[in-house]
């Protein structure tokens, strides 16, 4: 069907691609996976006021994504244990590459780019042993697999790069999951999550573990402040434990701070934090608890500030003032000064995360 004109246009587009920036993609600010009303799955680009900027169909349920630091590209990951990761052109939403997993590996839902954008790191597991793996991919050569490191834990989940650095931090959630449909948890009695830091050459720089009585607090999600403060969100695997802290704050070289809200508010989180983000100005950190239908806001020292109700809220990201949230009811809301206001309601169920793009 290619006419001479469309052929030339696509040639032009191809030659122009290396110089395209996020501005050329219409400056999407966020990415979020969703379930459509017909039961299919897609990834959406979203603008600052919650409007769609693009839509990409996904072959199965999605989870999170990693935005390229300079080019208008993002890699969308399958829900764990996943078999796909798609490199997406955020200008028009078309799929540029599909990552090809080595045999015996599964994607675990998250990934991160190096500062220059030349290396993609993915959180993975070895399907047979459950041991965690960090996969390395060459973004300059069609996302060829170039190597892998042990993540130094079981069940790695979110991985992130420290701002202004090529060091990485990964949340080893500690849970070994069967590859069945129910994702049966196999090691709850012995699980031991950790937070591990790596250099760009794969050297383990530091590893944080929790006190023995908190060994069932799975460390799963991460948010990073520009000064290097790492906030981590936890999910307890101890049935009925509604008081356990779900927020951790850590700075390289010091002990982590675990933070709770006062008892009545802490209980509403139901032992589960789904996503975590710093506010636009970095002064606050928010956790979402979709089971309890609440967003919990702390200051960056771990002092509880406020709790906001929103049914099925799960995705959260920074907004110019405060936070942006997504929920399973299709809502996109802004949270500022203790109040939630609707920006948009989309006819779809937003999945776990609202991914903030590096623009």
């Amino acid at each position: 069907m290619a006419t001479r004109r469309t052929f030339l246009t696509s040639l032009l587009a191809a030659s122009a691609l290396p110089t395209l920036t996020w501005a050329d993609a219409g400056n999407p600010r966020y990415l979020a996976a969703a379930r459509e009303p017909d039961g299919s799955y897609a990834l959406f680009g979203l603008g600052t006021s919650g409007q769609d900027t693009f839509r990409v169909p996904l072959p199965a349920r999605g989870h999170a994504a990693a935005g390229h630091p300079h080019k208008p590209l993002a890699v969308a990951f399958a829900r764990r244990p996943g078999t796909y990761a798609l490199v997406i052109d955020c200008a028009d939403g078309h799929v540029l590459h599909e990552l090809s997993l080595p045999e015996g590996r599964r994607f675990n839902g998250h990934g991160a780019f190096s500062a220059a954008g030349d290396v993609l790191y993915t959180s993975e597991i070895d399907a047979a042993s459950g041991q965690g793996v960090i996969g390395l991919w060459d973004a300059t050569r069609a996302y060829r697999r170039t190597g892998e490191w042990a993540s130094q834990g079981i069940g790695p989940h979110e991985i992130a790069r420290l701002p202004g650095s090529d060091d990485l931090v990964i949340a080893n959630g500690g849970i070994r999951t069967a590859l069945d449909d129910e994702r049966t948890k196999l090691n709850l009695d012995t699980m031991m999550p950790n937070l591990s830091y790596f250099s760009a050459s794969g050297e383990l720089l530091e590893q944080i573990t929790l006190a023995p009585e908190l060994h069932q607090n799975s460390i799963r999600h991460l948010a990073l402040q520009s000064d290097g403060l790492v906030a981590f969100a936890m999910q307890t695997q101890e049935a009925g434990d509604v008081f356990t802290p779900l927020l951790g704050l850590h700075r390289r070289g010091s002990a982590p701070i675990l933070a709770s809200a006062p008892e009545p508010q802490q209980m509403r989180m139901q032992g589960y934090a789904g996503s975590i983000a710093f506010s636009g100005n970095g002064a606050q950190v928010a956790l979402t608890s979709p089971h309890g239908g609440v967003l919990s806001v702390f200051d960056s020292n771990g002092t509880f500030q406020e709790m906001i109700s929103r049914a099925d809220v799960s995705g959260v990201g920074p907004a110019q003032s405060g936070f942006m949230t997504t929920d399973g009811l299709g809502g996109l809301c802004s949270v500022a000064d203790g109040a939630l206001s609707r920006l948009n309601t989309a006819p779809r169920a937003w999945d776990n995360h609202l991914v903030t793009l590096p623009v």
Binding site: H291, D312, S314, G328, P347
Partner: protein, 329 residues
């Protein structure tokens, strides 16, 4: 493809509201339910002011617990402010925090029981219906001892205060918030579907709680049954709570959906009649190899009611369960 989301939205709008009756559920189910809980807890508090004799208070305490079972599965709105629902019914208590918290107060003769405002800072585990169950039914406590009697009065007054606040907050605003779901300026329920969805999600979660916790905890496993984990076993309310929860969830369904629900009606009726045939108020029978099966069958019937609700009520209302609330990753 560009018009696909708009088309779906239009379909969703035309499919649901005719069969749903949000106002009916609010006015004839939720408001009377919370009013009954406020009235019965006030009566319990008044009775405790007169006497701390357990035999006198047990009937008022049971009436309050019965009323709570009518609304216990509503986990949104005013009952969630300040953690009220967990204060009212702190269960399951895997670490035995309720008896520990009560024993500590009694051992210290903590004067906090004399100050209703300060009592709000007492651990949730030492408050509410289950704290009172220990104080009235468990041999390790003597409700008529002077300090323990003050504690009984403090817990009943606190419970009545909470129940009154929940009922008032519904009457004075939250009922209207839910009735007007989707109206301009309603920042709690952005669409009418969200109002229906919160009730639907609570309906399904209520059935899951009864199947997995009220029945699942005492069942344990075949090799390791756990009758001591039955809810409210000291007052021998374990089976009664299951029965009342099934009734309440059926009432919620009936007021919310204005359409025939043959499979759901049949499933609720089957669960209720199976519960009625059990002659063991505390599920001690889970330890008996053959009788245990009867409790397992009841659990299956409650799960079958959930399946019926998911397949019949959800489509009738045009909503589905919260996508993230029932999930984890």
């Amino acid at each position: 493809m560009k018009h696909f989301p708009a088309l779906i939205a239009a379909l969703a709008l035309t499919a649901s509201p005719a069969l749903a009756d949000l106002a009916h559920a609010v006015d004839d189910y939720i408001l009377p339910g919370y009013a009954a809980f406020a009235d019965t807890t006030a009566a319990l508090s008044d009775a405790a002011a007169d006497s701390c004799e357990p035999d006198t208070l047990k009937s008022d305490w049971n009436a309050a617990f019965d009323a709570w079972m009518g609304v216990s599965h509503l986990r949104f709105g005013p009952v969630e402010d300040e953690g009220r629902s967990v204060i009212i019914a702190f269960w399951p208590d895997a670490k035995g925090m309720t008896p520990k918290g009560l024993s500590r107060l009694i051992a210290d003769e903590d004067p906090i029981v004399k100050d209703p405002k300060a009592f709000k800072d007492v651990s949730v585990a030492a408050r509410g219906l289950f704290a009172l169950e220990f104080l009235l039914y468990d041999d390790q406590f003597d409700a008529t001892a002077p300090y323990t009697c003050d504690l009984v009065r403090a817990v009943t007054a606190d419970l009545a205060d909470i129940a009154g606040k929940v009922s008032d907050a519904w009457k004075d605003g939250y009922a209207e918030t839910l009735r007007t779901a989707g109206a301009p300026g309603n920042t709690t329920y952005l669409t009418r579907e969200e109002g229906l969805q919160v009730l639907y999600t609570n309906l399904v979660a209520g059935l899951e709680f009864t199947a997995n916790e009220r029945l699942g905890r005492p069942l344990g496993t075949f090799d390791s049954p756990r009758p001591n984990r039955a809810e409210a076993r000291r007052s021998e309310r374990s089976l009664r709570n299951v029965t009342l929860s099934i009734n309440a969830l059926q009432n919620l369904t009936d007021t919310l959906v204005d359409a025939p629900l043959p499979a759901t009606d049949a499933a609720f009726a089957a669960a209720a009649s199976t519960a009625a045939e059990l002659n063991d108020p505390t599920f001690d029978m889970v330890s008996d190899v053959s009788d245990r099966l009867k409790v397992e069958i009841l659990q299956q019937k409650v799960k079958a009611a959930e399946v019926a609700v998911l397949s019949e009520v959800g489509p009738a209302l045009g909503v589905s369960k919260g996508f993230n609330a029932g999930d984890g990753d």
